[in-house]
């Protein structure tokens, strides 16, 4: 196979357990976002827009949705003869074979995949964030600084700094200290989990790490600290544009709401950096005579005859006359019957909210799981998570 200068490895095996019932049936990178995307569309589109045409997607937890979603990669122009997108689940090797033990181990197990392309650089990405980033600029920075590894860095609010890999940098941008999720962070410069490695260095450190039984086989906990203590050149690449971890119900809701702000913090209507996704063919959206739609995003296939305000409707949502959706995220195929009211909630795909049902309110974000049928007149309070099992239990009680 022809040599590639840089290939990307996208870690998409995460469960995203903080997203509760939303990730019961799908991995976090497959979680829908912004009307017609899934989280993984953002790193994949960034790759395509940055001219990186070879991407390995490492899956582990509930890979079905991701597999079928990625398909041949045609939606991101990643169906290449030379390169392209590959889904890489863990596999058996003779008598052995293990799950991916950690982020570093996942890459380690795929060294043969990487070596096919004999790359100079390997870009490590995660499928957890909403952002637009030109990885090429980061790669140029890496090359210019003759770094062994470059880590994308951004400032985060001090109060959440303890949830990230936190680093200290010298004036030239080189990293002098790194602490994974420190109890008392010394700075608020956080790793975005986006790394450019020079491949020979990464290969050596992955191999050494695998040989160390005490290792967690994790980039943040093991590989980066080891590189630092060995005196390798680690560079920080500052990125201060929009970047959001959508790991919790609240942050997923908030990131959707960010799309509605005007001027928007995160512009999807940017023709120079298109975000692509794989979408079903849908009839155009219809806004009826009795509808009122303001401050919202609505996708093809929706039929709106009720009131929609401050909300994001994914494709194929029906809002009947007299139904109300306020400050909410409603995923594809869901039907809101006349007289139902949804406030500050995330309603997952293919739900039915029957007449008179009330979902959410002031307070925490309510979450309705995939395929839930909310009975007539039922009430799901703010901050509560509910699916069919919840209502079956209620009915029995």
């Amino acid at each position: 196979m022809r040599k590639k200068r840089c290939i990307a490895m996208l870690l998409a095996g995460g469960q995203g357990s903080r997203l509760g019932i939303l990730t019961k049936s799908m991995a976090k990178p497959a979680v829908p976002f912004g009307g017609q995307y899934r989280i993984i569309d953002f790193p994949l589109s960034n790759c395509a827009n940055s001219g990186i045409d070879t991407v390995g997607v490492l899956t582990q937890y509930r890979p079905l949705q991701l597999n079928s979603y990625i398909g041949t990669g045609e939606s991101w122009d990643l169906d290449r003869n030379e390169g392209g997108v590959y889904v890489l689940p863990p596999y058996m090797t003779g008598e052995t074979g293990v799950w991916y033990k950690g982020t570093a181990n996942a890459i380690y197990q795929n060294i043969p995949f990487i070596e096919q392309y004999d790359p100079d650089y390997v870009l490590i990405l995660s499928g957890d964030h909403i952002y637009k980033m030109n990885y090429n600029k980061m790669l140029s920075w890496h090359i210019k600084n003759k770094a062994d590894v470059t880590i994308a860095v951004r400032s985060v609010p001090w109060e959440v700094a303890n949830q990230f890999g936190i680093m200290a940098t010298a004036e030239d941008g080189s990293i002098t200290e790194f602490a994974e999720k420190p109890k008392e962070p010394k700075s608020n410069k956080a790793s975005m989990g986006v790394y450019v490695f020079s491949w020979p260095v990464l290969r050596k450190y992955l191999t050494d790490d695998e040989a160390n039984p005490a290792s967690h086989n994790d980039f943040g906990k093991d590989i980066i600290p080891k590189l630092l203590s060995d005196g390798k050149r680690l560079m920080a690449y500052a990125f201060e544009d929009y970047w959001k971890d959508v790991g919790t119900v609240h942050s997923l809701w908030e990131a959707n709401m960010d799309l509605l702000k005007e001027p928007s913090e995160f512009n999807l209507y940017d023709h120079d950096w298109p975000i692509s996704g794989r979408n079903p063919v849908m009839v155009p959206q219809y806004i009826g005579s009795t509808a009122s739609v303001t401050d919202s995003m609505i996708t093809d296939g929706c039929i709106v005859n009720g009131t929609v305000s401050g909300s994001v409707l994914y494709y194929g949502v029906t809002v009947e006359e007299g139904a109300e959706v306020i400050d909410s995220v409603v995923m594809s195929g869901t039907v809101l019957k006349s007289g139902s009211r949804v406030v500050r909630s995330i309603v997952a795909e293919d739900c039915v909210v029957n007449a008179g049902a009330l979902v959410g309110g002031e307070g925490g974000i309510a979450l309705i799981g995939t395929g839930t049928v909310i009975p007539e007149g039922a009430c799901v309070e703010a901050g509560v998570q509910a699916d069919n099992a919840t209502f079956e239990k209620e009915a029995r009680a």
Partner: protein, 376 residues
């Protein structure tokens, strides 16, 4: 049904569409927010199970090729068979234009010869219908007809418009469904059965008839049918098509079709049963700003709406700015209605801009058409 191939003829008869077809074939006309005319007959063939489709192109076919590409949206990007684009070739008299379907098929005889399916469905790229055509093929086989042509009794489409030129054939059928008489382009039709540019025939018989037509000097399919019915040389059967059917022929008809599709019942009749495939763009969802007021309209993805939109069809990426009012209009992709502008009974082709406080008002039966890329 795998033993059927398809041929789509994209007609050059577009004078009545004026500016709308100045730079594109009728079959490439955008329709209903996100489609192009040819999507309907092409999707119908695909939904019927046809896997080998030739599209006969002529005159201004660039946008059609751009739209069809490798046939991917219709799953026709296959190694065996798939979508075959047939650009104009082999006609010396009028380069780029055929004299009719017979001329066009004659020029593309090789495609017919090399195909291996037993039957051919021939359709027109400006026919708007969405149906499983297996019924048509089955009826053709069961009646033992030589040629089965679809007809409709529903004449609700705008056929009598001043521009239409009455270019339709009407057929008389006996009680077994056999066509006994055909009237070509009558001013006042004697029969209620209007042929709809859709027929099925054995591939080898079609090749034979095309060869013979040349010898007999038959220029159009209608002439061929008329002669064959008169001398009883062909058993021609009629198949009543009960689904939604319109043909895009005039500006008024095109305008009305778009606006009619806003109606949920009409939309259901066309889109309700089977999917219509089309090439999609990378547009984000449509955005409705604070202060927007949209009523009874179809909106494509990628639109940004700050003003008022009523009874209108907006294609992808249309921007209606604050204070602007759009009524009863069809705005194709990437049109821009600037602040406080007002539109009523207007068709905007792609990329049209109307500047601040501009006002353009047409008549319901005579919409104003603004050509591609204009700024008003």
């Amino acid at each position: 049904m795998n033993d059927v191939m398809g041929i789509i003829y994209t007609s050059p008869e577009d004078f009545a569409l004026r500016d709308l077809t100045a730079t594109r074939a009728v079959s490439a006309l955008p329709l209903a927010s996100s489609y192009r005319a040819i999507d309907f007959v092409l999707s119908s063939m695909v939904n019927t199970g046809v896997r080998n489709v030739g599209v006969i192109m002529q005159k201004n076919y660039l946008s059609l090729i751009d739209h069809l590409g490798s046939g991917h949206p219709w799953d026709l990007h296959t190694r065996v068979d798939g979508l075959r684009i047939l650009p104009p070739t082999g006609v010396a008299s009028m380069p780029g234009t055929y004299m009719g379907l017979i001329d066009a098929l004659n020029a593309n005889m090789n495609f017919l010869r090399r195909s291996h399916q037993e039957f051919v469905i021939v359709g027109y790229g400006n026919s708007i219908l969405n149906a499983d055509l297996n019924d048509l093929v089955l009826e053709h086989i069961n009646t033992g007809a030589d040629l089965t042509i679809a007809y409709t009794k529903d004449l609700s489409s705008d056929l009598a418009g001043p521009d239409s030129g009455n270019k339709h054939s009407f057929m008389k059928l006996d009680d077994k469904g056999r066509v006994t008489e055909i009237e070509i382009n009558p001013n006042a039709p004697s029969f209620p059965n209007m042929a709809i540019d859709l027929f099925v025939i054995r591939r080898k018989l079609l090749m034979f008839l095309i060869n013979r037509a040349e010898a007999l000097g038959q220029k159009s399919m209608d002439e061929l049918l008329r002669d064959s019915i008169r001398d009883h040389s062909l058993a021609v059967h009629g198949y009543e098509f009960n689904g939604f059917y319109r043909a895009i022929e005039t500006v008024q008809g095109y305008f009305r079709l778009n606006l009619d599709l806003i109606n949920p019942e009409t939309r259901k009749a066309l889109f309700g049963k089977l999917p219509v495939f089309t090439k999609t763009r990378n547009d984000p969802p449509a955005k409705y700003m604070d202060g927007s007021a949209v009523k009874n309209s179809l909106v494509g993805n990628g639109c940004i709406i700050e003003g008022t939109v009523e009874n209108s069809v907006l294609f992808r990426g249309v921007h209606v700015a604050r204070g602007a009012v759009v009524r009863n209009s069809v705005l194709m992709q990437d049109s821009y209605v600037m602040e406080n502008a007002e539109l009523e009974n207007v068709i905007f082709d792609k990329d049209v801009t109307i500047r601040r406080s501009g006002r353009l008002v047409g008549q319901p039966l005579f919409p104003i058409v603004v050509g591609k890329g204009m700024t008003l």
